[in-house]
Amino acid sequence: MMAAASEAIVRVLSAGPGATLQDAGRHGYLRFGVTAAGPMDALAHATANLAVGNPAGSTALEISVGGIDVTAESGPLRVAVAGGEFTLSLDGRPLPAAAVLNLDEGAALKIRAGRSGSWCYMAVAGRFVVPKVLGSHATHTRTGFGGVDGRALVAGDRLGIERSGSSEQSIGAIVAPWLDRPVNVIRVVLGPQHDYFADDQIAAFLAGPWSVSVKRDRMAYFLEGPRLTHARGYNIVSDGIALGAIQVPGDGRPIVLMADRQSTGGYPKIATIIGPDLGRLAQARPGTTFRFESVSIAQAVAARREEAALLARGIAVEPLVRAHFTSEFLLGLNLIDGVVASTPSDDVPAANTTESDPVEHRT
């Protein structure tokens, strides 16, 4: 990436599959067949951005369970990470799963899948200096739109940042209890084609139990559970697809259409997951079981309002001092087993996370 004009750079040391740049999405072009993309978990994406003083929909890195290692070049960066319960370390020192930190030049921030969750977000105070496609940085790899050359991030990528915000030096834990969301019940609004299913099939759909299949990506999550049957066939004349639509193809296995969904499609859509619960489902790992609950539009909107109110109150950050890390404290932050087994040393050399070291999961 060209980054000459910007003040600092995020350099990717190594990246697992599925790390992309995402802003709030490429909106306004669905009518031409352009997928919006955007974050899989918009609430976590917003939380990370707000924690570094960015507007909620700013461009951030979306990281999958494949993880990522990054460093800063040409100056320090103020960084926040939030999302699923990932395992973070800065130059070998463990951090809370949701944290704000200063990434100094040459320091290595390592983000790995942790105890739960499928996606996390790394926001950087400031603005990414990366070309936009149709006004957005959102990466859609299937059409090669956005991000870095329309693809997932790989080792060696350098992302320019026009920095902004505070010059605080502290590390802090993001206090965002709303990111700890159970997945046992996912709320839906029935329709637009629930009339393609008999009442007993609607009941079976709601009761489940469903589990998230291993077959899932940014476009769609396949569900395993009861086979649903259609009352009036399964080929409809293609129509629009909303975010979170649950389509039921001929084999009766529901598919939830996620951020990278196609704009239109031709299977009956039995229900649509409400906005606030879609990120919750996106974070669920394969095998997670849940059921659906049918809610009214008014209930769905109330849930959206609650979520907006949470974010409007601002993000609290609890300062941490490296030297004061203790096992008890880290346990309190729900760090992954193993990390908390030993008290982290202040003197862990950075060598194990620098570029010269063997990369564990190069794509």
Partner: protein, 249 residues
């Protein structure tokens, strides 16, 4: 998808269907029909001319308009009543559509599935090409990938079922038939349809002033070209030239 040209137009009273709390579907029927599509495009035009506060995007498809909205800015019932009033103001016509003549090469070197499709349809290659190139098409909607156009007006003799399983990705610019419809596909994708030609025109070009060349409601014809012409037009299109011809309807 079965299309019966002799069927009485199946425009129904509009139905308002919820696709979650942030998208409303206004449905005018459940078949592929120019009269239904006209209603969709007319409502789309009226709403886009003066978008209600809180609406985000309008997505016209064959038989319905999907309205994406922010439910914290406009509530569902208010939106329904605004749309209802807007429909009262929809004129019979929806403004002049553009007519496009799109160069299309049917050489088997690019039309990978032409012979296979012709054989299934009981036609010779030349008959299939003549049928396809002599028809006039309506662009019902765009979708699936950027700039991809879904065309109705395929002659019955070319109404071929989709493949039972998808074939490997076709090239960008592929012209495909399947399920009684025709598609022009600007992005390489696996497909269950049959590739019977390829256009050198780019229906989507990021750097062009009008990134998207055509839109729903436009009329389209194909102009057969040979392989040498295709290569020439392809080079010109790559330099940013629009090689399709546009005329008022």
């Amino acid at each position: 998808m079965k299309i019966d040209p002799d069927r009485v137009p199946a425009v129904t009273a509009p139905r308002f269907l919820d696709a979650g709390e942030a998208a409303l579907v206004v449905q005018f029927g459940d078949s592929v029909d120019p009269a239904i599509n006209d209603r969709v495009l007319a409502l789309d035009a009226v709403l886009r001319a003066d978008p209600p506060v809180g609406t985000c995007e309008f997505v016209p498809t064959y038989r319905s308009l999907m309205i994406h909205y922010d439910p914290l800015e406009i509530d569902r019932d208010t939106l329904v009543s605004i749309v209802g009033r807007a429909m009262g103001g929809v004129a019979e016509g929806r403004g002049a559509a553009a007519t496009w003549t799109l160069p299309c090469c049917y050489d088997p070197a690019l039309a990978e599935d032409l012979d296979e499709a012709a054989q299934i349809l009981g036609l010779t290659r030349d008959q299939a090409v003549a049928l396809h190139a002599n028809a006039t098409y309506r662009i019902y909607m765009c979708g699936f990938t950027p700039g991809q156009a879904y065309l109705g007006g395929v002659p019955d003799a070319l109404a071929i079922s989709r493949r039972p399983a998808p074939r490997p990705p076709h090239a960008a610019g592929a012209v495909l038939i399947g399920g009684g419809l025709c598609v022009v596909a600007p992005f390489a994708m696996p497909t269950g349809w049959y590739v019977i030609g390829r256009t050198p025109e780019r229906l989507y070009a990021a750097e062009r002033k009008d990134a998207f060349l055509i839109q729903a409601g436009d009329v389209l014809r194909f102009d057969p070209i040979d392989l040498a012409t295709f290569r020439d037009l392809e080079r010109r299109a790559a330099r940013g030239e629009i090689v399709a011809r546009k005329s008022a309807a």
